[in-house]
């Protein structure tokens, strides 16, 4: 479970995140929805302790990130916005590198790696060097190395970005699979359909603030819009109206 309390982060005069609070529960998929530049990536970066919040608290499985960042990172599997691979290493070697950094014993590492290679349908390219990989192959490799230590919580920053239809479908199924295993899945997106189809809960962020935190159904109900996209526009729109 991931718990975020009143997060603040400013870069100079720009308040990127301005009081964000939400909970992402185990066995649920939580979507972080918001337009580009709303503060989604910065919020996630504070979650996986790449950045320190100016104010507020991040708690993962009861561990305070400010107290023990390393323990928090151990509980998280992260697919960051930046998902660069080592191009002179094969997909398997890329995965193994992160496994060893997590301190996995070699036999356990091999088992988990092969399970992920199968689950993500990577068998065809797992022994190729990642230079020249397609976007889909890259994301699969990046996800496999993020999950190699079998984390209870999974954070995915815009995971379907740049993927084609087939790869997107496969990834969505994989996220359902993670949820069914009882994990806490938190992902960010700016695509309404994706969030509507996948999420148990939607946290809408605009201008660094949470403007809605509901189930997709409740969101539609609240705004009186049957279509989630219209609901989204209405929420964001009214927020901008308030800000102006």
């Amino acid at each position: 479970m991931i718990e975020v309390k009143d997060l603040h982060k400013a870069f100079g005069a720009v308040k990127a995140v301005d009081g964000v609070s939400f909970k992402a529960r185990d066995g649920e998929i939580t979507g972080l929805l918001g337009p580009n530049g709303a503060g989604k990536t910065t919020t996630l970066r504070m979650l996986y302790t790449l950045m320190t919040p100016d104010r507020g608290q991040v708690i993962v499985d009861g561990i305070d990130a400010a107290q023990d960042a390393l323990a928090v990172r151990r509980e998280l599997g992260v697919l960051p916005d930046a998902r660069g691979l080592y191009k002179r290493l094969t997909a398997r070697e890329n995965i193994d590198y992160f496994a060893r950094l997590h301190g996995l014993p070699e036999d356990l590492m091999a088992n988990r790696r092969e399970a992920l290679v199968n689950a993500l349908d990577m068998v065809g390219f797992a022994d190729r060097r990642t230079e020249g990989f397609s976007q889909g192959q890259r994301v699969k490799t990046a996800i496999a190395r993020a999950l190699i230590h079998d984390p209870r919580n999974v954070i995915l920053d815009e995971p379907t970005n740049g993927l084609d239809v087939m790869a997107t479908r496969a990834l969505r199924q994989f996220m359902q699979h993670l949820k069914n295993e009882g994990r806490c899945v938190l992902f960010s997106s700016h695509i309404m359909q994706e969030v509507g189809a996948l999420c148990d809960r939607v946290v809408v962020i605009a201008n660094g603030r949470v403007v809605a935190d509901e189930s997709p159904a409740a969101l539609r109900e609240q705004t009186g819009e049957a279509n989630l996209e219209d609901a989204f526009v209405k929420i964001i729109g009214s927020e901008e109206g308030l800000a102006a």
């Binding site: 790449l50 950094l101 079998d150 295993e181």
Partner: protein, 402 residues
């Protein structure tokens, strides 16, 4: 996949994991390999051999071969011309414009004998012959010196004969004679030629680790792999330590290859022709390696630090290339200002290594005190460099790619 929580396992493996991964990955990069194991370490020995052979052959040529010299007014001084011929100088017909010919390098030196030479000679007066040359043409200097020596020797002989014919001892005219006693050992003379060697060693270390250092931060950031790397439960300093160790390994390997190459090359350089002695053997290599060890760490830290400021790979490459000029400074300093080596200078990184290696080349060896100063000074600097780099590595901005 089961859901049991991962127990924290031996984290000490992180250092080795990063180190081994960096080594393996970079061994697969042709550019890194070429720079670290080929061009870097072999450039020095090859340039050295070429330079030495050219200068040696040239000097030997000039000393032994007949030297053609255009002479104008040769008919006025047949005895002088004969004396020149006896010393292997071949008089050539006069040329129209000696000054221009010398500047255009058509002739190394031109001898001009004025028409009143014969008259003045017969009267027993001092006569003048002109040597026309251009001292900025270093190539010609050996010829000029040779001709000038022959002319002066001839003049002294004739002077002595005139004194004897007047019943005087030649020593009346030369009451003081300077006798030159050169104390330079054969090795010291070689050292003069080899004063560029310390720079080659530093350059080798530099080039050996350069691509790794750039890749370490700027490269990782550019290909967006630093952020996922930092999401792992490993303290950043351990990642940095592993990467620095990989850089040091590559640059140390570079240095080793270079030392071996110099050792091999040292056997083929005809230094004995110039009366020099050069020992680039095992003892020398071992001591150079010891002197350079702290410098390897220091350069790795400096390169990483400089590269960490860059936003892109190309930018980092530019910064690091500029940094490459820093190690030249002691060499330039010492060659332009012939300062006597003070004790404290050994404690200055780069300068200490330069002085130490020069001492070794001269065959004087380094004292324990000099060695200690050099090691402690450079070690302190490299610790500082590593600490500053580690601090830089903690920065939040470092990991952000965009």
């Amino acid at each position: 996949m089961n859901m049991k929580t991962v127990t924290p396992i031996a984290r000490t493996r992180a250092f080795a994991t990063v180190f081994l991964k960096e080594v393996r990955e970079n061994l697969r990069d042709r550019r890194t390999i070429t720079s670290a194991f080929l061009t870097g370490p072999l450039l020095g020995p090859i340039i050295m051999v070429m330079l030495l052979n050219i200068t040696l052959n040239r000097q030997l040529d000039k000393a032994e071969n007949p030297l053609p010299v255009p002479v104008s007014g040769a008919e006025y001084a047949p005895n002088l011309i004969n004396a020149l011929k006896a010393e292997g100088i071949v008089p050539r017909p006069a040329i129209a414009n000696p000054e221009l010919a010398v500047r255009k390098q058509d002739a190394d030196v031109v001898l001009r004998i004025s028409p009143d030479y014969a008259t003045a000679w017969r009267k027993g007066e001092a006569v003048q012959v002109e040597l026309i040359y251009d001292s900025s043409q270093r190539d010609a200097n050996a010829s000029v010196e040779r001709l000038s020596n022959v002319v002066e020797t001839y003049a002294r002989q004739q002077g002595a004969m005139r004194l004897v014919s007047r019943g005087l001892s030649p020593s009346t005219a030369w009451p003081v004679v300077a006798a030159k006693r050169d104390q330079a050992t054969a090795q010291a003379r070689a050292a003069l030629v080899f004063s560029i060697l310390p720079y080659f060693f530093v350059l080798t270390v530099f080039m050996g680790g350069m691509y790794l250092a750039i890749d370490l931060t700027a490269g990782e950031r550019e290909r967006q792999s630093l952020e996922p790397l930092f999401a792992n439960p490993v303290p950043r300093w351990k990642i940095l330590a592993g990467k620095l160790a990989a850089i040091c390994t590559f640059s140390a390997a570079s240095l080793l290859i270079s030392l071996v190459a110099f050792g091999v090359v040292g056997r083929f350089v005809p230094t004995e022709k110039l009366g020099m002695e050069l020992d680039l053997g095992l003892r020398f290599s071992g001591q150079v390696l010891l002197l350079m060890l702290p410098l390897i760490v220091l350069l790795a830290a400096l390169q990483s630090m400089v590269a960490a400021f860059a936003k892109s790979y190309r930018e980092a490459q530019m910064y690091v290339s500029l940094l490459m000029f820093v190690p030249i400074l002691p060499s330039i300093l010492l060659s332009t200002m012939p300062i006597k080596a003070q004790g404290w200078m050994y404690a200055v990184p780069l300068l200490g290594q330069h002085l130490g290696i020069m001492q070794l080349l001269r065959g004087d060896g380094v004292t324990a005190e000099q060695l200690g100063l050099c090691l402690i000074g450079s070690l302190a600097a490299s610790v500082l460099g590593v600490l500053v780099t580690a601090r830089l590595y903690q920065s939040e901005r470092l990991a952000i790619s965009g």
